[in-house]
């Protein structure tokens, strides 16, 4: 890593960037326009977000708060946990623990900084971590391994056996940083009675671990409050995701990013609820007017990213969709599968419910939420088994009237690269033009965004979709 990179801590630098970004929208429009030339490095991301209006600037404020929590955690006497986006942060908030979500922070660096998180990725390789490992963890992880972030107190994951390369990154970090580690480990199926019992036992053991690490007992009232907040949030999300089924979809293309981003950062925290409410206002208005959420107001096509999104600089993927008047109707990261979500029909087996009646029901609820997070929900078992990747992708594609399906991941994704060809074949058979992106969602050195976009255009053109 270049010596200059050691000058500033990664989390601190992200926080300052976001803090500044969240404030530029506070003034008058003219002030904002005047400001942009002074922030050439991240005006590309700031401008579209501020142009989203209230939800955009609230989103910046929320992330800024999240980062501030990390940077100031120890001052406030809180513990920091290193975790993954597949893990709902709800339990951490309920126990006053500050999460550092590796992939989410890698995304922030990728979309905001020209160099992304690539130097930190390479730093991991210098330490002996394989360069073929997933870039989503490697970016942020490199910074923390280099000691360029607040000290991590513990690590908690739930990806063992689902995304081994993910679990392996944390396992490496556990040894390297020499910190306590807890790994929730999910069986291949989602909801047999014995699996539910297992989820429960495993989660109880996790709570015990967290209690030991923090020296504090789980506060039942607080857990109840957080869960109620989650329920409130999911109700708003559910409403928006129901309206998303309309043609044209009233959701601006970046909304799915805000929804899942918010969930990964702040599920169960009021900051997220505020954003969702602001978003819902926009969506409802668009829906009443029969207007598409796309900037031009027109929707020509609906695409479903059936794995993850691409986090090129300035959210170029979403710009690409918006410019071509294609609506992005979500990815594997988008939906939470709460029992009262409208899209659950036909997939009731996958659903979870929130029941804050007593401690046992609360633990059950939170264990269920966690086991329904992206990836750990639908790529845990063979892809063509009930409730798994194929069934879910087809159900969502149908429900949301997708015109085409797009796979995007990273070369580090051993799991999906081991069956993407199979599922793509099945999706094509089911009548969905399916495109496989070969780049890296977090590292445009693997394939530049321009090349990726050219291939997407080629797909759209060759398949006669537009």
């Amino acid at each position: 890593m270049r010596p200059e990179v050691y000058e500033y801590n990664f989390d601190w630098m992200l926080w300052r960037t976001l803090e500044a970004a969240s404030k530029v929208g506070d003034g008058f429009d003219k002030e904002f326009k005047q400001m942009l030339p002074y922030i050439p490095y991240f005006s590309g991301i700031v401008e579209p977000f501020i142009n989203l209006g209230d939800p955009g600037s609230a989103f910046f404020k929320m992330i800024s708060e999240y980062l501030k929590n990390i940077v100031t955690a120890h001052e406030q006497g809180k513990k920091i946990v290193m975790t993954t986006f597949c893990f709902s942060p709800t339990i951490f908030y309920a126990m006053d623990i500050v999460p550092v979500t590796l992939e989410a922070l890698t995304v922030l660096a990728s979309v905001m900084w020209k160099r992304g998180a690539t130097e930190y990725m390479d730093f991991c390789v210098e330490l002996g971590f394989t360069e073929t490992s997933c870039s989503s963890q490697r970016g942020c992880l490199g910074a923390y391994l280099a000691g360029m972030g607040e000290e991590i107190d513990m690590l908690v994951i739930n990806t063992a056996g689902i995304c081994d390369t993910n679990a392996n990154a944390f396992s490496f970090a556990k040894t390297f940083l020499d910190k306590p580690f807890y790994s929730l480990n999910y069986p291949a199926s989602l909801n047999d009675p014995e699996v539910n019992q297992y989820h429960r036992d495993d989660f109880k053991a996790l709570i015990k671990f967290l209690e030991e690490q923090t020296g504090k007992k789980l506060d039942h009232d607080r857990l109840g409050k957080v869960l109620d907040e989650v329920a409130k949030q999911e109700a708003i999300v559910g409403e928006m995701e129901e309206l998303q089924r309309l043609v044209p979809s009233p959701l601006p293309v970046t909304y799915n990013f805000l929804i899942y981003g918010g969930r990964f950062f702040f599920a169960g925290m009021p900051e997220y609820t505020v954003i969702l409410e602001k978003m819902a206002t926009v969506v409802r208005k668009n829906a009443t007017q029969g207007r598409s959420g796309i900037s031009s107001g027109r929707e020509k096509l609906r695409a479903f990213m059936f794995y993850i999104d691409h986090y090129a600089l300035n959210l170029n993927l979403w710009n690409w969709f918006d410019k071509r008047e294609i609506n992005h109707i979500g990815s594997i990261l988008s939906r939470s599968f709460k029992d009262d979500s409208p899209y659950i029909k036909g997939m009731e087996d996958v659903a979870y419910n929130i029941d804050s009646t007593n401690l046992d029901t609360m633990i059950d609820s939170i264990a269920m939420i966690n086991s329904r997070m992206p990836m750990v929900r639908s790529i845990r078992g063979p892809y063509d088994r009930p409730n798994m990747w194929l069934e879910e992708s087809l159900a969502l594609a149908k429900m949301y009237k997708a015109d085409c399906l797009i796979y995007n991941g990273t070369p580090g994704c051993r799991n999906t690269w081991s069956n993407i060809k199979l599922i793509a074949r099945d999706l094509e058979k089911a009548g969905y033009p399916t495109h496989i992106m070969y780049g890296d969602a977090f590292d445009d050195r693997v394939e530049s965004w321009e090349a990726t976009a050219a291939r997407l255009d080629e797909f759209i053109n060759v398949r006669g979709l537009l």
Binding site: T130, S133, D164, S171, S183, Y198, S418, K421, L422
Partner: protein, 395 residues
Amino acid sequence: MMEIFQEAASGITNRYITDWVNSGKKIVGYTCSFMPPEIFHAAGILPYRIRGINTESMEIGDTYYGPYVCTFPKCLLQLAGEGKFNFLSGAVISTGCDAMRRLDECWRKTGEDYHGSIPGFFHYFDVPHKTDPHAMKWFENEIRKLILNVEKYYNVKIKEDSLRESISLYNHGRTLLWEVEKLRAHENPGVSGTDAFSIAVSGTVMPREAFNEQLEQLLADLPKQKSSSKKSGKQNKNGNKRIMVAGSINDDIELFRLIENAGSNVVADNICFGIRSEADQVNMEDDPISALTKHYLSNSVCPRMFGAYKQRFDLLQTKIERAGVEGIILQNIRFCDLHGSENGLFERDFEKLGIPCLRLEREYGPLTETGRMKMRIEAFLERMEVKQTDSGGKS
């Protein structure tokens, strides 16, 4: 004597497999060392560790698997698609790692396209990645499910007594393998690393009775050695360096030959297919299923058991001391992030203890890159030759 083991280790099939099939008995393949073969033995079925040896092309492997995937499962799939495993009547796919567990789907889809390439009994064996009590319960349940499915499909009954007998037979094999391990670790290694590895690989593809018998005979025929009193500080009389090989899966004895031919003795290894922890016996006092559960899950020998680095480090250190290891070759198949990354940690920690390490990335399958690997290995042995004056460097 050694020829029997070398033959068994060098090809997909061997004379025992042929005889077994000809006598009308069943063979079931499995893919991971966390699967207890005793279960099949107890059912009168020959458990066979599925291998990718002698793969010549990869068009089938590459048709179903994507590009960023380890070549080991691709080779298995290739051979399956070519019908090389048609002698199997069943297969058990374990959740060894991401790429290995997807062999389930890849093989099933290959079976649809290449008629007859998929065995009738096809079981997905879900192995936990930790050893907490509730994970043990899950694993025990998986073992019971496997037994039920075997009983149903093959119309057999796996009785507790026969399971106990099978465990005892496999335990005896472990004892014998341990004798081999002692011989190769001797000051003057009585068995080469290549031979020891051939024996270990053979054990996974031969009927256990025949394996034990042949190995007993081999051990009886080998010249007796005075046991070495020194625990460490061993040095080879022939000047060869004493090497340990660890890392990704391997069943190719040529890898060992390559390392030994460069001027070393592989006196220990820690590799899937090799002799890893054969000293640990399955407990005969316990109820057999619970004993198998504990034995196969609690040995966190593979980095798929996340967060258990310390145990594996300790295991390597024991082996180093026992065999007087002077240097470690830490190899990994490209895209094997689990071993590849752990090798980085091993390198850091063992170099700190003054044991030279070489990290080597390779492909599984035909050793097409022998030139490149040989160059590295030779340079490594040269480096070990010279006593360094300081270690220096920041990492």
